[in-house]
Structure formats: C-alpha cells, structure tokens
Symmetry: C2
Subunit: 261 residues, 2 copies
C-alpha cells in the first residue's frame, strides 16, 4: 500500500495511491483510517511531506564506497564502523517532493545530494530483537540528505551543513509492501543517471539498527531513520533537478535553486 | 507569567501558575487561550512535560569552566569556540519534572547531570537581527542534560550518551518574565548544593545564537534551545535526587534510579 499526504481543493489529508489516482481517507495510517468516496488524479494534487517525525534519526556512514570517498576527502584511511551508531537531522529542514531546495546565497558551490532509504516506524517499541524488529516498520520512503560540504568540514555537529532549511527533501509517499532485498537506489541529475547501488548493501542493515537503537531508545509512530547513502555526488547547481528513485518505493524529485543575494 | 502543562482528574491542559495554585486555561499559550474558572492547588496536579519541540536544539560547550573540565578529561587544551555552533538532542529522551531518570542496567557509574537554561521559541522566525532576536523568545524553562560519560567518549554523535530514554528532564513550567541577567543556576544533589553559576555567563549568549541559527534555520513555536552548562557533576547514583534551580524561573527536580538487570 502506498500512503500519500496530499492537498487538493484546500484540504490536506492522507490518501492511498492506486495507479495514477489517489483515494482520500479519513484519519491517518498510524491511528486508524477508512476510505472515503473521494478519488483524484495523482497529477492534480499537491504532494505534502508525509510527516514530521517526533525524532529524526539518520545514519551517517553506512555504505562502503561513500565511506571511502568521505575518508579520501579528509586524507584519511577509511575506518569502517564496528557497530551501528545513529545520528540526528533537524525537522526544520524537511520539505516535500517537488518543493525546491534553496541553496543559501552565501553557501559555496559544494552542494551535494545523498539518496537514502527512509524507514518509517509504525508502532511504539523498545527492546526489539532480531526476530521481531521488522514488525515495527510501517513502510519506506525516500530522503535526500543534502549537504554543503565546506560547512561540513567546519561544523562541530553538522548543524548548517546538513540542516539548513530545505536541505532534507522526503517523500513522495510511504510504501508499505516493498522488499528491501530487491531495491536499487538510482540518482539522476537533470535526467542523467549519476549513481546506482543496491539499497540493502549497507554496512549495518535495518534490523541491526533497530535492535541496537531500542536498547536505549523508545521508537514512536512516525519516527524516521534515514539509512545512509553510497557513492559520491557531483556539485549541484542552480536549476538542477535531482531525482532519487528507489525501485519498488518511488521517486523523490526536487529542483535546486540558489537564493538571490 | 508561568505556564504549566498539567494533568488533574484525568484531563491534561495548560494552566497559569499563581502562587501555589494553577488556573486552567482553554487552548495553549502559542495558538491562543483563555482562562477558565477551574483552579487547583499546585501540589495536587501531575506536572507534565511543557512540550515536545519540533526541533530540539542544544549548545554543547558554552561556559568556560565546563569547557575546561571536558578538555582536561580528554587530556587536551581547552579550545574556546570562536562562533555559536548548535547541536541536537532527541525527543524520545524527554521527561517531566518529578519523573524518574532511569539509568540503564548496563550503563557505567559515570552518570552526570548538566543544569541548563532552556529558551522556548514562541513565533515562527528567520533572519533575526541583534535588535529583534529576543522578540521570538516566549519564555524560559530548565533542562537537565543527563549524560553517560563512558558512552560519550565512544559515541560518534552522542546518541546513547545523551539521548537514552529519560535522559532529558525538562520543566517544571515556562516562565515568560524572568530576567536572564539576574539568573543564577544552582544544582543540588539530595538537597546539598554542588554547583552555582551566573546563568548569563555564557561564551555566546541567547542573542548571538538566535541571530546565527536563523541565518540557516526557521525557528518554530515550541522549538527549544538548551543553552549549555557550567562546572562539573559528581557521579549520580541510584536514589539520588537532582534539583536544578534557576532563580526567577523555578526548580526542576528528578530522582535517578538504576534499572534492575
């Protein structure tokens, strides 16, 4: 099932995508819902951010090529993490599918994308085991972990480099039935493929993260975990359109624009 | 004005504290409210967490003695930050006044408090100036940035060390009229004073942080910024009661208990 938050005729609601149509529902997928008789062409609705997570988790280094690329840039030998460690991103930075990533006028040209699988939590859980961890996963969506790399070198906590307003596109919807083992992540800039990797080819997968996190944390419905990216990005310029496709989930598309001085 | 979120007779609402009583209001202080005729003794209500912030900001190193102490522990020369840099904490960890901080059974004895001033944002703002920055401040509350120091040494992003469930007590209420320049932060363990410092004695104050953050970020009503702490903490043990008082704001009190194996 493909859950979409959308606005049409001034009303924002959840809906279920079927082919090129969306069926509006009353309620929401976490607390309870039922179908309405309202059906709209997908092309005629404004796609909204699926949700604002209570806590916004994000894995920093979880694919080998990306790890090596990041280490090379720092002139270091890549150190592969020996356990699942989580980081955070900031809610202010979230935008929806088709909304614009605004590059601040005073940013450098080192603007990079990172296409990521996003795990959406469906239930309040703690102390998960390898056996039951996946039961708390409501579905998957897609994230673009936009970064300003010159700030990233200077920031103690990646505050501006990763969390400037509009730097966290997420969407377009939440897919509940995709098979992680079959997914490919494909990134395109202005229609031209620039990255492709097996989404599941993580250093630590979804299950080890869920087990380790919930030794310490309660996960809540609507929490998201961005699972990291592989490979490197070219510098993204004003007017570029970046698409992150994850097969079986969907395609997240955002245009980048540079703020005028 | 002193804004309290509380529960009485099974109903949770906002109220205004006057002396030892609380007057319930309809609505909330951010979106609009009005007084009701319901008045209760403060001692008879359950004090709730004032709010769950949309984004949870926290300054890591913002007082000189704390900075020096942290550097000494790492065997380093203290490096004073040359600009305001922000970090993040996680919403899962928040608890209210008088709720218990639960130390995981597998944590070490290096459990420390950090008594902090918390700035509560009242309006949606960006691009603040030195002149108008304080206009977005709704009021102040108090935070205890509980830390497990052995995990802190190992964590890449302070994920467990700072954000384990219950490690972020905040409250008891939001005070809208306190004068930052006159505040003192006083910490007591089991009634005995262990720290005292001028709350405003920060490396970077509230205004520089608001100006710098809003170059990059939109702040939203209910966002919080924890402003850092001074000095050091003794190791906190099972059964200890930690009180963080900020004069003119209030006292946040929490008992620490060690989870049984």
């Amino acid at each position: 099932m493909r859950w979409l938050k959308f606005t049409a005729s001034g009303k924002t609601s959840w809906g279920i995508v079927e082919g090129d149509r969306v069926i509006a529902v009353d309620g929401d997928p976490f607390a309870g819902w039922q179908r309405t008789s309202r059906m709209l062409p997908l092309s005629e609705v404004k796609i909204e951010l699926p949700l604002i997570p209570r806590t916004f988790y994000c894995v920093g280094l979880n694919y080998l090529k990306h790890l090596k690329e990041a280490a090379d840039k720092r002139g270091e030998v890549p150190a592969v993490p020996d356990r699942p460690e989580i980081g955070y991103r900031a809610q202010n930075a979230l935008i929806a599918h088709d909304e614009e990533v605004v590059i601040p006028s005073f940013a450098t040209d080192k603007i990079h994308y990172e296409g990521e699988l996003v795990v959406v939590i469906g239930r309040k859980v703690k102390h998960l085991t390898e056996q039951n961890a996946m039961d708390c996963v409501f579905g998957y969506t897609i994230g673009n972990d936009v970064s300003e790399r010159s700030w990233q070198k200077e920031d103690r906590s990646l505050w501006r480099s990763k969390n400037a307003d509009t730097f966290k596109p997420m969407g377009p919807w939440i897919e509940t039935e995709a098979d992680l083992e079959k997914m490919e992540t494909i990134v395109r800039v202005n229609g031209k493929e620039t990255n492709r990797f097996a989404t599941a080819d993580m250093i630590f997968g979804v299950v080890p993260f869920l087990v380790e996190l919930t030794r310490y944390f309660t996960l809540w419905p609507g929490d998201v975990i961005w699972m990291g990216t592989d490979g490197a990005s070219p510098d993204i310029k004003h007017g570029d359109v970046v698409e992150v496709e994850i097969t079986g989930v969907g395609t997240l598309r955002n245009r980048f624009v540079r703020e005028e001085r």
